[in-house]
């Protein structure tokens, strides 16, 4: 399965949002094991998705490896207030 940049970004946004919402829930429910398990599962999946995004398109998070030359944090652009075009990236399945 392959995702376009926009599709993969949407996937990341979906998973990351669930992680953020659960994270706030856990702040006031730190002993909820069920929520913690779910949080860990989703956070693991999010990590994988971000890794793929960085490899295929551009660096997403600061202080992480840059897979392209020149330094993709700058060269990759993709600042979130701009609207970008898309290319396709063939990647492993999820």
């Amino acid at each position: 399965m392959s995702y376009s940049e926009e599709q993969l970004m949407r996937e990341i946004q979906k998973v990351e949002f669930a992680v953020v919402d659960l994270h706030l829930y856990l702040d006031t429910h730190p002993t909820d094991r069920e929520a913690l398990t779910l949080y860990n599962q989703l956070a693991e999946r999010l990590k994988m998705l971000k890794e793929t995004f960085s490899r295929c398109y551009r660096q997403l998070v600061e202080l992480h490896p840059s897979y392209q030359y020149p330094y993709s944090w700058v060269a990759g652009g993709g600042w979130p207030w701009t609207m970008r075009g898309q290319y396709m990236c063939e990647e492993e399945e999820y």
Binding site: Q13, K14, V15, A18, D21, Y25, T28, H29
Partner: protein
Amino acid sequence: MNDLCPQRNFIPTVIPIPRYRYTPLAKSYIIFQDLKKLYSLEEGLDKGTIFPELYIPYDPRKHEGGHKYELF
């Protein structure tokens, strides 16, 4: 209407407080959320929360009529 003041028929009712502990006055109470079913990831991002019990969307029709304060 003889009296411009609205009649306030005070009916003392006991309001059941669904709490097991002593509840002093002059403080706020919030019910703790319990984890129940969650929305799908797609629906969660769409709605702004993954928790169905916290999803309370805005209904503009409620605003159009203005706020109604009911006196007892």
